[in-house]
Symmetry: C2
Subunit: 142 residues, 2 copies
DNA sequence: CAATTTACTTATCAAATGATAAGTAAGAGG
DNA sequence: CCTCTTACTTATCATTTGATAAGTAAATTG
């Protein structure tokens, strides 16, 4: 088992992960937002509260573009901007009620597709899957 | 360990996979092609020979757009179109010598970053990683 | 407190991508 | 043959995304 073989397996694996993720998430997002806007909302959902700079860095979107998309999301009432009272240059971004609802809906669609996918897995399978995920997360995808 | 918890772990895991993949592949592609063009070339590289219809379906790009991008790739001498002699409506798409070279270069960049990432892993770690990949590929990302 | 830096905004522009309508040419089926 | 279907192309247009220059307002620093 040399490292080159492992690399090839990794390529095939990540391809599969991307394909399945795409299957699970296909059309899960509301049609009223773009892909990038969805990515931003998803990031806010799991990391809130966040600042525009953090979004910019983690999502790899230049600040002016981040600012533009946040403005659009704000106009759609999906997020709330709160100015940091300690440093009035900074902002704290959170999902609005409406934004939470939209993301909850998307997540539950994805989750039910996932449950479908593993409906025939045995308890041992699920244990194995969980362990495998933890190993990879710790040793490879950190 | 209920399925909902497993779902949350999966979400966090796929996020990590996407992030690390992005790290490994960042700037690996030549600047002379777009992201979509790179995806198409990558697909051709691992699946050749393929038809435009297969590319369209697997990459989820509408036929007219697939046709446009293939034309651009052809004009850049990265792929070759061969008309199927049995059915002259069909085409067989392959990488050209130049296309092969470009993809080899991209892959070796990615591979060397991967080797960097696992340079400190022990032999047991690598074994574990390999097994975990196989389990997930078989039981979850099929 | 003047100069600089930080955090974010506004305005533009170009390129990439996606969607749709219409067209060509070859094969398939009656 | 004549029609229908398949595989792909061309043309066009709207939207999204990415890049860059310039601007504002608040904090920091010497």
């Amino acid at each position: 088992m040399d490292k080159n073989t492992l690399f090839n397996k990794l390529v095939s694996f990540t391809t599969s992960v991307h394909r399945v993720t795409k299957e699970l998430t296909k059309n899960a997002k509301s049609e009223s937002i773009s892909q990038v806007q969805y990515n931003i909302l998803e990031y806010i959902a799991v990391s809130q509260p966040v600042t525009p700079s953090e979004i910019s860095e983690c999502q790899d979107i230049a600040m002016p573009n981040t600012s533009r998309e946040l403005k659009k999301l704000s106009e759609k009432n999906l997020i709330e901007k709160i100015i940091d009272p300690n440093d009035r240059r900074k902002q704290t971004i959170c999902l609005s009620k409406e934004g939470e609802m939209m993301m909850d809906e998307a997540f539950s669609t994805i989750q039910s597709r996932f449950l479908d996918k593993i409906q025939n897995a045995s308890l041992e399978d699920l244990e194995e899957i969980e362990q495998a995920i933890e190993i990879l997360q710790k040793k490879l995808f950190y």
